[in-house]
Every structure is written in structure tokens, then in C-alpha cells.
């Protein structure tokens, strides 16, 4: 569902942000990308949505080339950023309505939006509240709600739990687990080693644009991911 083949990005200033990345995420799988700031995690997600163009290699969503056919490819994926920022003067439902229409979902009723917002754990009073009054946790949940309404088989999340309080973080993880159960392929970049170990089916560690380690849940069963992560970070 989500596939990178020798995906490489070198910026105009010469910085090699991503170096021949290869990864595959199948439906019902959560792939956590770990790495320090500047490791290339956000660049990877940006390439899947064609926010930036690859220098070489291919990013595929459901077999569609994200650089060659971006509009076609984006239909299969939803995006949740580190800091979901929506239209502050719109209510939560109005934001949902706009983004779901943009994603091609029409004829949704008010109750459909309410249902999704309940599903992600937003309090009822927030449904018709302007988003500019929302906390970060509420905005992240609304971001997930938008992704759910898109009904895309793949979900790409760029450090979505960063800055969330433990309770909100735990709720977020529960939500992802549910989505995995529904067969979504999920790529999540994060700094949070513990959270990654908790939910990931596959964990990749990136350093300076290179995927230096990739291990499955089975591989990590008897390993301390935090130590492993620190070990890889120390290796020059």
C-alpha cells in the first residue's frame, strides 16, 4: 500500500535529506519511523504527498507514483501533521465538512460528522465550536477525524503525538490501533520510542537520510528499543 523504492531527496542547497529509502507497508500494518530531528522522516512523508519532488526513486501509494500521478496517488492516503492547524473561524464540523468534500466525500449528513468526532474522542460540546478555541490534542483528534472521513486505505502521520499530554497520547494510540484493525496501512514518524514499541508492527530508525535499521514487532520482542535506538544514534 505504502512503498518507497530507492527514494532520494537532495535539496537545492546540496543537503541529502533522504538517501535511497526502501520501505513497504502493507494494509493493517503500523510502521513507525524513528529518528532525530533532520533524519529525513518528514521529508519521506512530504515525498508521498508530493509536497516536494524526489531527486530520484519512487514513492508509491497503492501502486500509484506520487510524483508522476500525485492527484491519483493522494486519493489513497490521508495526512496528519505534527501540529494539525485547521481553519480557526470554522467550527469542527465545518472543517470536517470542507476537507471531506475536498476529498470527494459528498452527501454526508451532520450526524455523520458527529459520529466520526465521537469516534476520535472529541467532546460533544466541541462539535459546533470554533477550532481556534481547541487545544492541540483536540486539533490532533480532529485531524484524525478528517483522515478517517477521507476513507483512504493509507495513513501518513508526521509526529502526531508530539506535544500531547500522556492521556491524549494514549487516546491517540488507541485510535491508531483501531484504524489498523480496519486494515489501514499506517506510516507514523515519531520521536517517541515507547509509543513506537507499543503500537508498531515495524520500526525503522533513520539517521541523516538513511534507514539504518528496520525491525518487526517479533524482532523487537526481546530487545530494548530505546537502547537500540540510542546505540544506532551513537554510531557515526
Amino acid at each position: 500500500m505504502i512503498q518507497a523504492i530507492d527514494l532520494t531527496k537532495r535539496y537545492e542547497d546540496g543537503l541529502l535529506a533522504l538517501d535511497h529509502l526502501n520501505l513497504t507497508i502493507t494494509p493493517g500494518q503500523i510502521y513507525c519511523l524513528l529518528g532525530a530531528n533532520g533524519a529525513g522522516k518528514t521529508t519521506t512523508i512530504n515525498l508521498f504527498f508530493n509536497f516536494i519532488e524526489p531527486t530520484s526513486g519512487t514513492a508509491l501509494l497503492n501502486g500509484k507514483d506520487c510524483a508522476q500521478a500525485p492527484l491519483e496517488a493522494k486519493k489513497y492516503a490521508a495526512y496528519v501533521s505534527e501540529n494539525v492547524m485547521l481553519y480557526g473561524n470554522f467550527t469542527a464540523r465545518q472543517n470536517l465538512d470542507f476537507f471531506s468534500r475536498l476529498a470527494g466525500r459528498k452527501n454526508l449528513e451532520r450526524e455523520d460528522y458527529y459520529m466520526v468526532m465521537r469516534q476520535v474522542g472529541l467532546p460533544e460540546r466541541a462539535f459546533e465550536q470554533r477550532v481556534k478555541t481547541f487545544s492541540k490534542g483536540m486539533r490532533q483528534k480532529l485531524g484524525i477525524a478528517i483522515a478517517i472521513l477521507k476513507q483512504a486505505p493509507a495513513l501518513l502521520l508526521d509526529e502526531p503525538t508530539s506535544g500531547l499530554d500522556p492521556k491524549a497520547g494514549a487516546e491517540f494510540v488507541d485510535l491508531l490501533t483501531t484504524l489498523r484493525g480496519e486494515g489501514k496501512a499506517i506510516l507514523m514518524s515519531t520521536h517517541d520510542v515507547f509509543r513506537a514499541k507499543e503500537i508498531a508492527d515495524v520500526v525503522g530508525i533513520m539517521k541523516e537520510g538513511v534507514l539504518i535499521m528496520e525491525k518487526t514487532r517479533e524482532d523487537l520482542k526481546y530487545e530494548d528499543l530505546e537502547k537500540l535506538y540510542l546505540k544506532y544514534m551513537e554510531v557515526s
Binding site: 535539496y11 521529508t43 512530504n46 504527498f49 508530493n50 509536497f51 516536494i52 500525485p70 492527484l71 493522494k74 486519493k75 492516503a77 490521508a78 495526512y79 501533521s81 501540529n83 494539525v84 492547524m85 485547521l86 481553519y87 473561524n89 470554522f90 465545518q94 470542507f98 476537507f99 468534500r101 475536498l102 476529498a103 470527494g104 485531524g143 478528517i146 477521507k150
Partner: protein, 520 residues
Amino acid sequence: MIRHIIQKELRVNILSMRFHAGLAVSALMMGIVGYVLIEDYAARVQKYIADVQEHREALAQTKVYSMVAIVVDIPPSPLSVFSRGSQDLPTSVRVSPYHVPSAADEAGEGATISLHGTGSRPSNPLLRMFSSIDLTFVISTILSLFAVILVFDSFSGELEQGTLKMLLSASAGRAQLYAGKFLGALVSLAIPLTVGFLEVIVLWTIHPGLALDARAWADAGLVYLCSLLFLSSFLALALLIALYARESSSCLMTLLLAWVGVAVVIPAGGEYLAEGTRPVSARENLLAAEARSKADFEKTIEGIDYRQIGGWNNASTDQFEGESLLGITAEEVQNRLAYNLKVFPLKFRFAEDHYSAVEAYGQELRSWRGVRENMIRPSLCVQYSNLVSALAGTDAAAFEETVARARRYRDALMSFLQPRVESPRWFTRALDYPDVQPTEANRAYWQSLIDHQGERAVERILSWDRVAPVDLAGLPTPVLAPPGAGERAERAMPDLLLLFACCGLCCTLGIIRVRRYPLN
């Protein structure tokens, strides 16, 4: 897809404080300016009606054919409410045997009016710009500034806010996003524009002295569409500039600079630079040629033998115009007629020669106007102003066409008058009113009258007031119909195409640029 983005843009704009502020300012300005201009138009209509009546009565009171002069009043254009056009153009054109109308000297002071319509306006380009505040000016400055404020953060704002990635991740293409933002901003701008137009139409409709006919409605609709085209072009330019900015604050400053350039610097600076190319020497040549031809004319007149036989009373003569004599003997009438048969053809020829010289200067002025117009035309505001004034028929070209029609009318007038040069009624009514002859034989009668009633008794008898007007049956009537739709469209076409081209070019460049707009 684009429809949803348009709806979102519209909703975001309508909910914003800047939209409400802009709407209030534009509605206020358009309402005030519209009210003032409608009152001004109503006053000009009243003046036009009064002038027509006054000139008609004056013509009907003409006592001799040589004094026939027709003042053709130009009706004010209803669309002058939107565009007052060239400010110093006269409201009437005088047609007489001694004057061939030319657009170059219709101010009545020789070749002092310039064809570009700034002759009597301040020489300071800034004062000149603000001397003509009409609805076109309000739309091209206030609403264009509103456009800038509306779109300065279209992309940089969404980038800073983080919603740009959300938008692009939701299956929206960049070109679609651009189109949606462009059309959304245009629909948002159409709201204050429509409110302003409605204000003007309502004020116009309820004005007791004015009526909106079908043509005025259609023309107002055309001006509205042209205003939308102008705002589209301005928006496309603003969005293109906005796509080169990554920070909203710097983008706003850049766009404000661009606005100052388009709305102020190019129009005023272009005019200022064009002053340097004004054909001063051509005007000096004209004045010198005028002086020479006058001297030649006077010399020729002096060469014609004429010896006055009897005295004149209540006489009006002008070397270059017609003459009216009363209180002369029948012998002097015949004597003067023989002289006038030689002099008046010379006066007609002098008028034709003077026209040729003025027209030569007019050609120079037209060339200069072309230079000036091209210097200021890069500004979208100027293109829009030209377009509306061409549609309104308030541009200098419309006035030139009116003058050309007046010139053609003079040909018909001359056909009527020239055979009458041979009649004594060309210059006198003494033969029709022999009782007012101050001959020696009647002097005793006059003296007795003066003794009894005072000097004014004789003045009354000798006055032209007692003389019946000359027969003007068959005099052609001037018809100066306002320029037709075809003529106006032809004159509006260059600026219309330019605005379309600017809009198309900016949109194309915008779509190219948005594909490369960096999101990282």
C-alpha cells in the same frame, strides 16, 4: 473540487475582520462618491437643458445672416457617474462661418486645450490624479487595495498556519488550489463591488430629476462586468506576487509596493514623464502661423477699396466675424454690400486656413497623446479607467468625434448661408426698417422726440430689439447623437484586450509558479 475551495475562501473571507472593514470602506466611498456624482450629473443635465434653450432662443433672435452662429451643446453622458473622463473638455461646440470646429482649440482661447484632456488641470501629477475622483477611481484604488489585503496571505498564510499541506494532501491539485483561491477572492471582491453598484443604482433611480432607461441599465451592467475584469486582473497580479513570498508580512509589504506602483507611480509618473515630450514648439509654430495669417488677412483687407458714404448707428463689426449694421442709408447698404462680397469670402477662407493650421497642431497633440497613453498604460488602473471612459463616452476620443460631427454640420450650415452673402440681410436690416434711418430729413423729428422723451427714446427706435429676427427657415439642425455602441466598443477594445491579456498572463504565470511553490 474547485467549487469547494471557492466556498471555503468565500467563507473564510466573509468571517474575517478585514473583509468587513473593506466592505464598509468601499460601500461608504462608493455611496458618497456615487451620491456626489449623481447630483453633479443631474446638475449638468439641468444646465444642458437650460443651455440648449438659451442657445436656441439666441439663434432665433439673430437679426442678420452674417451673425448666425450655432452653439451645439453636448449632452452629459449618464455613465459620467462612473467615469467623468477628461475633465477640461468643453460642454459645447460653437459652429459659425468664421470658425471651423477643431478639437485642438475648442476651449475658446486658441490652441490652449490639449487633446489629452489635461490642459486646465494642475501641473502637479499627484494633484492631477486626485482632481478626478469618480467611481472608476474609487474602484481602481480602494477595491484594488482591498484585493491586496484579501489575498496577501493566500499562500504564505496557509503555509505559516499549516493548512496548506492539509489542503494539498486532500486530493487537491496545486493548479486547482490556485484556481479556487483566485475565484474565491474574486467572488469575495464582487460583494463590495455589487454593494457599491447597487448603492449607485438605487441613488440614481430615486433621484427625482433622473431616469434610468434601458440603455443606461445595459451600460451600467457593462461597466460592472469591466470592473470585475479589472479586479480579476488585479487579483491575478496580486496572487502571482503572493506566490513569491513565504512570509505574510513581507508579502503584504511587497504587494503594497506593487499597488502603489500600479495605482499611483505608473499613472502619475507616466504623465510626468510625458510632459517632457509635449509638443511645445508645435504650439509656438501654430501661434506664429496664426499671427502671420492674421497679418496677411489684414493686409489683404486694407488693399480692398472701400469708402464709406453714410453714417452707421447701432453697428457691430468684427474684422474676423460677421457684422450687423442699422441706421444706414440705402446707398450705403449697396456700397457696403459690394465691399462685403469681396471681404466675407476672405473671412471664410481665413477660418479654413486657421483650421488647417490648428489641425496640424492637433495632429502633433494626437501623437503626443499616443506617447502619453502608452507611458501610463502599463498600469491596470489606467487600462480600466480608459475602458470605462470609452464605454461612458467621456474620453477625449468621444469629444473629438463630436467635434468632427460639428465640423460636418458646418459644411451644411455654409451651404445654407453662402448664397445669402449677396443679400443685404447678410449684414443689415436697414432696408427692412427705413423708419429708423437717421437721415438729415428726419433729424428734426428725432430731435423733437429727444426733447420730449430724452435720448433713450431714439435709442429704443434704433435698437435691434425692434428688428424682427431674420428668416432662418431651412437652416439645417445639428444632430449630435451620443456615440453608438459600436463606436464605444471599438474605442474600448484595446484596453479591454489588454486587461484580458494581463489577467490571462498573470493567471498562467501564477499556475506555473504554484506548481513550484515550496512547502518545506
